[in-house]
Symmetry: C3
Subunit: 317 residues, 3 copies
């Protein structure tokens, strides 16, 4: 623990490699402060959107050493994916996402609930069909936005992820959770079958696991979620930051452009028959080999040294 | 145990909410009687089909509190999925399935074998190609009938599920089994590769698990089946009824029409690319929100009370 | 152990049922000799290809009792899937593969690494785009060749399977590994995202497992690989031969033609929607029933005796 504290202080002393942005303020990321035994302080400079200057910000964001942390901070709604929350997440994910300085996004939920899903109050007939259409098309934009994001998006779950909150976890490229976490799609309890969460969940876990979640609304424990493939790794709360850092380091150690090319094709080939996938995959591999960063990677391996990436798509001549 | 007995007696004392049917007789469901330490009594009034009045009935069926139990009772053939057995199952599943009183179907196999699959005696050349065509088209009708059934179908397995019997388990929406259960697709041992069982099994478990089952014919234990996703839950024989009841209660607690809408889209979207799935899914969600039962569900949540469902598809004005 | 030694000696004393081949020499398969506590002797007669008579052979192959063992023996490159290694594997897999005497192929990697994947030295710009195209089209031919092989292909992994080596494991019909094995797709560390390995891995394991492997490059342990479905079974090194033999025996006990028909349809139906799969599957089943070997299998079951297969596709009259 003592070592963690020192590492943390060192981290804070580094110069922030913030992406240059008019919309994202410089923020001191205190998310990990609980490792010092104190509750997180609320001295963040929050993200402000021109469209919501009168409302309380729902997320806080900071970027350090290529890693953008996006934290849902609306504990009073259990981080409900209200229209505004989804727009905030989309903004925070897409903002300057083509900046080479950005290498990985990590998504947190503050408090005991990662996210409880859509805000039921937005789903009453009072809001009207047009509003409902907007809610679900925004939700789709968020989910596809994560898949189309050029850098890996990692969900870190400490607590409950329910309904569209579970969809969010299922959609992220990688998901790490603490042992006390749980995952459910209980919408039918309230008359809304989790049809869109089911799209992401069914593509992440065996269909009987998905069906049981959707038809009963009963939660998976963290261990059941790991077994089903919904979660990449379970860690103790104590080891959480360390394990997240390992994953983030492994990602940041690589060339951004190579990862971008790989992520794009990964989700494309999942939808292809295997013959088409291999036909397109061969081409992707040969293109990958022609990149400067690839040839640098191979040389560094042969020469037994660390690679020096450009993080760009330049080709060798 | 004492508590279980009392609960069971209470259950039997309730008035049966039988669906009105000319083909399904009122039946006292004694399946759970073994919890009292006595063997099941054979005093069922069996299902009779006009087409098979001269043959022994192969299933028994009862419906109570929205739950239809269908029990395969042909122990001497190890609940073989003979043409007649499959027709019986189809009849019992489809009978009055649009009756709002029906909310869940639970499928059991009496004896040590849930089902041993097709009846090999029906598959000899003596029967002829036309008969074989009929066997397999009926099998397809049974499997698709389970997926298209408007209410969830739960398999409860106590023992072996083999070949088409394993296909049946893989096809049900939810499957619960006891620890001593096992699952196999051993057809190739007898010269019939389990090609159609493989269709359901491959869609339920990782492909290497399916391939090992199909190529070796060796069984999965209950724990291997759970790990692979073929089974939703393993329970001890002692806790079986209680656990089945939990799942059934979770299903019956919800609006039938919401579940029907959700189940239909679940199996549709599994076959779609993700973009199409989300496009259609948004529409499904917005339609779901316009249902009376959905708005009642949301109100009940906000008002912290139990919802009162219509179980219908009426829309809000 | 004593029993194993005796079984092994008996095995060696049997007459080899070698396929008649001008390219594959008679070879004494000593792979299992380590069970006697001695290192494998290098007295194999290696496979020689007319196209590579000047290079050291990269594999050794033997066939006994219907089982063809193909062993990658290029430890100094950690069994790299060089162009030549892939061509060797393709030759060894396709050679006389329609010979009824061949019933199963088992693929080993000699040494601590099953296979480390493509040979990075072949992927530099020195080799040129045309060569790279050849490498990846050959890799596709190898992978599809395993899926299209008329007999099951079993991978036996003792150690690391990385990148295209992991793809090879993911592609084999069945995979058995020892407890110390590990599996990774670390290409992005060297600037080459494992896009084509990802095609096989994504179809074998849940997508979050695949994504974590591809984006971090971190390995799965044997137990994680089993949990994810990448591996069919984990065994101790001591029990490896016995367990492989069980799987091989289960395969060889069946009719070759029935297995061929089943394997072909298995990979076809995986790409179909479920309605089409069942429509085609019914036809496959009825055709299967018309085969002499199928009717023999059914009769042998009814008559409680061992079946006598023709291993051919002859139909009943």
């Amino acid at each position: 623990m003592q070592r963690n504290v020192r590492a943390h202080v060192t981290l804070l002393m580094k110069v922030f490699a913030m992406s240059n942005s008019t919309r994202m303020s410089v923020a001191v990321c205190k998310h990990v402060s609980r490792i010092r035994g104190t509750p997180p302080k609320r001295n963040f400079t929050h993200t402000h959107h021109s469209s919501c200057t009168l409302t309380e910000p729902l997320t806080k964001t900071c970027q350090l050493d290529g890693v953008r942390k996006i934290i849902m901070t609306n504990q009073k709604t259990r981080n409900a994916l209200s229209l505004q929350m989804m727009e905030d997440l989309i903004s925070n994910i897409t903002l300057n996402q083509d900046d080479p300085a950005l290498r990985c996004i990590v998504l947190y939920g503050e408090g005991k609930v990662f996210s409880a899903g859509h805000n039921l109050k937005e789903l009453t007939t009072n809001e009207g069909t047009e509003y409902h259409n907007q809610v679900f098309s925004t939700c789709t934009r968020l989910m596809l936005g994560i898949m189309q994001c050029p850098v890996p998006v990692v969900a870190v779950v400490e607590g409950l992820a329910a309904a569209a909150g579970c969809q969010l976890v299922a959609t992220c490229d990688i998901a790490i959770c603490t042992e006390n976490s749980s995952f459910s799609t209980p919408g039918a309890n309230f008359g809304i079958f989790c049809s869109t969460p089911g799209i992401a969940v069914c593509r992440a876990v065996p269909r009987k696991v998905a069906a049981q979640m959707l038809f009963t609304g009963l939660p998976l424990t963290a261990h059941e979620a790991l077994q089903a493939g919904l979660i990449s790794k379970i860690v103790t709360r104590e080891n959480l930051d360390e394990e997240v850092q390992k994953v983030v380091d492994a990602i940041c150690h690589k060339s951004r452009s190579v990862m971008e090319l790989g992520k794009k094709f990964l989700y494309e080939q999942l939808e292809m028959d295997i013959i088409t996938a291999y036909r397109d995959g061969q081409e992707i591999m040969v293109n990958n080999l022609s990149m400067v960063d690839c040839q640098e990677g191979i040389r560094s391996f042969i020469e037994k040294r660390q690679p020096v990436w450009t993080h760009g798509f330049e080709k060798c001549h």
